[in-house]
C-alpha cells in the first residue's frame, strides 16, 4: 500500500488550465495575505484577538467573513455556468462536461453550506446575545469550535479545486451516480467529508443557540418580549438540532457504501437509492427554512426600525414562525413528486406544501402593515427589505405553483425550478444577509457603511436578479432542463443570452459591494457612530456602545416590556436625563481558547487523509483532535475578570455620548 494512499502528482489537474490558474491565483493571494500579516507583525494580534477568541461578536464577524469569501467563490461558479450556457448552443462551449459537472455541484454546495449558512449563523452569533441583553452564548468555546469546523469544510471544498476533483454528481449527490461504481474519483468523498465535518459544527451551533435562548436572557426578558430575530433564531436552531442529524446520518450511509462496501443505496444486495433521496430531503426542506427564518427575522428588525413603528402583529409573527418550524418537517416529498409515489402521497404532501405558504403570507402582511402609516426612511437595509418583499412574493407564488403535483410533473428539474429556488433564496437569504450586514455593521465596527455605494449595490443586485432569473423561468417553461452542458434548441438560446447579461449586472453589484467596504473603511471617521444607536433602533443591541465592549453590557439591562431600548429612550426624553448610574461590579468572562482552531486543524488533516485513503494520517489526526479536547477539559482557569473600574470607565464613555445625544435631541425638538 502506498504511503500517501491514492494521492499522487496526477491528482493535480495539469491538463486543465481553468482550475489550475484559479488555484494559482488563490494560492498567490493567500500567500501574499499571510506574508503581509507576518511581516507587519499582525500575527500575534490575529491569534490573540480573533483566532483564539470565544467572544460571540468576533465569531459572528468571522462567520460572516467566511460567508462573503465563499459567496464570491460560488458566484464565480455561477458566472462560469451562465457564460457556458450562453456559448454552448450547438457548440461545446469552453467547459468540458466533467468540469461543468463539478462546477454546478460546487456552486450549490458552496452557496448553501458555506455562504448562506455561515451568513445566517454569523448574524445570529453577533446579534442574538446582544438582543437578549446578555454577555455571551451558553457555550463560548463550543461556539468557536463550531466556526472552525465550518471553516474546515470550506477549506476542504477549496482544496478540491487543485488537488483531485470535486463532486461531479450534484450538490445533493444522488445515488446510484454518487456510488463508487459510477463516481470512482475522490470528488464525492471531498463533498462527504466536508459536509460531515462542518455538519458537526452546525449541529453544535444549534445546541448552543437553543440553550442560549431558552436559558440565558436578561432579567425580565420573557419569551414574548424577545425580538422576532431571536424567535426566528430559536426556531431555526431547533430545526438544526432536529434536521442536521438526518443529513449526517444519510451522508454517513453513503460514506459507508463508498468506503466499506455497504449497500444502503445500491441497487444490488437489497439497497434502495430512493431512500437517499427521501432522507436527504427530510433534512433538505427544513434546511430551506433554517436559512429563511433568520432572514425573516432580519427583515422584521429592519422594517420595524426604518418604519419607526413597533412590528405589526408581533404575536402572529411568533405564531407564524413556530408554525413554519413544525410544518416544514411535513413537506419534504415535494422535492421528488416524480419519484413514483401514488396520488395519495403526492396529494397530501402537495397540500401540506401549499399550507406552509400561509405562515409566510402572514409575515408578508405583517411587514406591509408595519410599513403602513410609518415614517419610512429609505436607508440601504430598508431598500433590501423592500426589494425582498416584492421579489420573494413572486418566488413564493411560483413555489405554490410547483407544489401542485401535476404541474410539478411538467416542471420537475427544469430551469423553472432553478429560477424558483434562486428567486426565494436570493431575495430571502442573500438580500437578508446584505440588509443585516448593513444594519449591524456600525454596531460591529463603530462606523456605518457608505450609503451611496450600498444603494448602488442594491439596485444592481435587484435588476441583475430579474434579468438573470426571469429568462430562466421562460426557458424552463420551454422545456429546458437544468445542468445542461450544451443544447441544440434554438428557442432557448436568446433567453440564455439575456441571463448571461444579467450576470454582468450582478457582477457590477459585486463590484459595488467591494467598493462600498473599501470606501467605508477609508472614510470611517466621517461615518463614525458615536452614540451606539445610528438607526434609532428599538432593541437592546443599540443600548450598548459601538463596537460593544467585550462584556456587551456594563450592567445587564432590566427589561420591562417589548422593545426595551425604545422604552429606555422614551424615558430618557421624557425625564430629560439618563437613568441614574448603576453600581458597577467586576465582570467575569470566558478566557480565549485555541481549542476550536487546533481541533479544526486536525479535523482538516483527518478529512483530507480520509478522502485520499491515507490511513496512518487519519489515525494521527483523530488522536490529535481528541487530545485537544482532553487538554481543554483539564484546564484550571476558565474565566478572567474585568475589574469594576474598567467597566465603569467604558460605561461612562458610553453615557457621555448618550448625554450629548439627549442634549442635541432636546434642542432639535424632534418628536420621540
Amino acid at each position: 500500500m502506498h504511503l500517501l494512499g491514492k494521492l499522487s502528482w496526477n491528482a493535480i489537474p495539469w491538463d486543465q488550465p481553468i482550475p489550475l490558474v484559479a488555484g494559482a491565483v488563490v494560492f498567490v493571494a493567500l500567500f501574499a495575505v499571510v506574508a503581509w500579516t507576518i511581516l507587519k507583525g499582525h500575527l500575534p494580534y490575529l491569534w490573540r484577538e480573533w483566532i483564539t477568541s470565544v467572544d460571540h461578536k468576533r465569531i459572528g464577524v468571522m462567520y460572516t467573513l467566511l460567508a462573503l469569501v465563499m459567496l464570491v467563490r460560488g458566484f464565480v461558479d455561477a458566472i462560469m455556468m451562465r457564460s457556458q450556457q450562453a456559448i454552448a448552443f450547438r457548440a461545446p462551449g469552453y467547459l468540458p462536461p466533467e468540469h461543468y459537472n463539478q462546477i454546478f455541484s460546487a456552486h450549490g454546495t458552496i452557496m448553501i453550506f458555506f455562504a448562506a449558512m455561515p451568513l445566517m449563523i454569523g448574524l445570529m452569533n453577533f446579534v442574538v446575545p446582544l438582543q437578549l441583553g446578555v454577555r455571551d452564548v451558553a457555550f463560548p468555546t463550543l461556539n468557536a469550535t463550531s466556526f472552525w469546523l465550518t471553516a474546515t469544510g470550506a477549506l476542504l471544498v477549496n482544496i478540491s479545486l487543485v488537488v483531485g476533483e470535486f463532486d461531479p454528481a450534484g450538490w445533493l449527490p444522488y445515488p446510484p451516480l454518487s456510488e463508487l461504481r459510477y463516481s470512482p474519483g475522490v470528488g464525492v468523498d471531498y463533498y462527504l467529508w466536508a459536509l460531515l465535518i462542518s455538519g458537526v459544527g452546525t449541529l453544535m451551533t444549534g445546541i448552543n443557540f437553543v440553550t442560549t435562548i431558552l436559558k440565558i436572557r436578561a432579567p425580565g426578558m420573557s419569551y414574548l418580549r424577545m425580538t422576532i430575530f431571536c424567535w426566528t433564531a430559536l426556531a431555526a436552531n431547533l430545526m438544526i438540532v432536529a434536521a442536521f442529524p438526518v443529513l449526517t446520518a444519510t451522508l454517513a450511509m453513503l460514506t459507508l457504501d463508498r468506503y466499506l462496501g455497504f449497500h444502503f443505496f445500491t441497487n444490488a444486495a437489497g439497497g434502495n437509492m430512493m431512500m437517499f433521496i427521501n432522507l436527504i430531503w427530510a433534512w433538505g426542506h427544513p434546511e430551506v427554512y433554517i436559512l429563511a427564518l433568520p432572514s425573516f427575522g432580519v427583515f422584521s428588525e429592519v422594517i420595524s426600525t426604518f418604519s419607526g413603528k413597533p412590528l405589526f402583529g408581533y404575536r402572529s409573527m411568533v405564531a407564524a414562525t413556530m408554525f413554519i418550524c413544525l410544518v416544514s418537517f411535513t413537506v419534504w416529498l415535494h422535492h421528488f413528486f416524480t419519484m413514483g409515489a401514488g396520488a395519495d402521497v403526492n396529494g397530501i404532501f402537495g397540500i401540506a406544501t401549499s399550507i406552509i405558504a400561509v405562515g409566510t403570507g402572514v409575515k408578508i402582511y405583517n411587514w406591509l402593515f408595519t410599513m403602513y402609516g410609518g415614517r419610512i426612511r429609505f436607508a440601504t437595509p430598508m431598500l433590501w427589505a423592500m426589494g425582498f418583499l416584492v421579489t420573494f412574493t413572486i418566488g413564493g407564488m411560483t413555489g405554490v405553483l410547483l407544489a401542485v403535483p401535476p404541474a410539478d410533473f411538467q416542471l420537475h428539474n427544469s430551469l423553472f425550478l432553478v429560477a424558483h429556488f434562486h428567486n426565494v433564496l436570493i431575495s430571502g437569504v442573500l438580500f437578508a444577509g446584505f440588509a443585516g450586514i448593513t444594519y449591524w455593521f456600525p454596531k460591529a465596527f463603530g462606523f456605518r457603511l457608505h450609503e451611496g455605494w450600498g444603494k448602488a449595490a442594491f439596485w444592481f443586485s435587484l435588476i441583475g436578479f430579474y434579468v438573470t432569473f426571469m429568462p430562466l423561468y421562460v426557458a424552463g417553461l420551454l422545456g429546458m432542463t437544468r445542468r445542461l452542458q450544451h443544447y441544440e434548441v434554438a428557442a432557448w438560446h436568446p433567453w440564455m443570452l439575456v441571463a448571461a447579461f444579467g450576470i454582468v449586472i450582478m457582477t457590477c453589484a459585486l463590484a459595488c459591494q467591494v467598493t462600498q467596504i473599501v470606501v467605508s473603511i477609508r472614510r470611517r471617521d466621517e461615518l463614525r457612530d458615536e452614540t451606539g444607536d445610528p438607526w434609532d433602533g428599538r432593541s437592546l443591541e443599540w443600548a450598548t456602545a459601538s463596537p460593544p465592549p467585550a462584556f456587551n453590557f456594563a450592567v445587564l439591562p432590566d427589561v420591562r416590556g417589548e422593545e426595551p431600548y425604545q422604552a429606555i429612550k422614551r424615558r430618557a426624553i421624557e425625564t430629560q436625563q439618563l437613568s441614574s448610574e448603576a453600581q458597577y461590579e467586576p465582570i467575569e468572562l470566558p478566557r480565549n481558547s485555541p481549542t476550536g482552531f487546533i481541533a479544526a486543524f486536525f479535523s482538516t488533516i483527518t478529512g483530507f487523509a480520509l478522502i485520499w485513503h491515507i490511513w496512518w494520517m487519519v489515525g494521527l489526526g483523530l488522536a490529535a483532535a481528541y487530545a485537544v479536547f482532553v487538554w481543554f477539559a483539564w484546564r484550571d482557569v476558565e474565566e478572567y475578570e474585568i475589574p469594576a473600574d474598567a467597566v465603569a470607565r467604558a460605561d461612562r464613555d458610553r453615557r457621555r455620548a448618550r448625554a450629548e445625544w439627549l442634549d442635541h435631541h432636546e434642542r432639535a425638538g424632534e418628536p420621540a
Binding site: 451558553a138 436559558k215 440565558i216 436572557r217 427521501n278 413514483g340 465582570i587
Partner: protein
C-alpha cells in the same frame, strides 16, 4: 459563564442540576436505585417472555414493544428527571418536539417508501405482458 450561574432558579432547571432543587443526597440515590430496579425488571421480563408459553406466540412482539416503551418511560423519569412539574416545561416540550420529528420522519419515510411502486403495473400483469 456568569449569567448562567446567576440565573439558575428553582422554576427553570435543567435535568441533572440538583443544587437548585431541594433534594437530599439520600433521596437522589433512592430515586436512581428504584429506576435501576425497574429497568432491570423490564429487561429481564422481555428476555423471559420470549422463552415462555405464558404469552400467545404472535403476541410476543406486541409485548416486547410495550415493555420497550415502559423502559423508555423509566429512563426518562428516573435517569433524565423528566417530570410534569412546571419547572420541566422546557424539557417536556423539547422531548415532545423530538418525538414528533422522529415520528414524522420515520412514519413519513415508511409511508413514502411503501408507496413507490404505485404507478407500476403489478408484477404478475407485467410478466403476462412480456409473454
Amino acid at each position: 459563564m456568569t449569567p448562567a450561574k446567576e440565573e439558575i432558579n428553582a422554576d427553570d432547571v435543567a435535568p441533572g442540576v440538583m443544587e437548585a432543587a431541594d433534594h437530599s443526597i439520600r433521596d437522589g440515590i433512592q430515586g436512581y436505585l428504584i429506576g435501576l430496579a425497574l429497568a432491570i425488571m423490564l429487561t429481564v421480563a422481555s428476555f423471559y417472555i420470549v422463552h415462555t408459553p405464558l404469552i400467545w406466540g404472535p403476541g410476543i412482539p406486541v409485548a416486547l414493544v410495550v415493555l420497550a416503551i415502559a423502559q423508555i418511560g423509566v429512563h426518562l423519569v428516573f435517569f433524565l428527571h423528566i417530570t410534569t412539574a412546571p419547572d420541566n416545561t422546557n424539557n417536556v416540550l423539547a422531548l415532545a418536539f423530538g418525538v414528533l420529528i422522529v415520528a414524522l420522519v420515520i412514519g413519513g419515510s415508511l409511508w413514502i417508501m411503501s408507496h413507490l411502486n404505485q404507478n407500476m403495473l403489478p408484477m404478475d400483469q407485467m410478466t403476462r405482458m412480456q409473454r
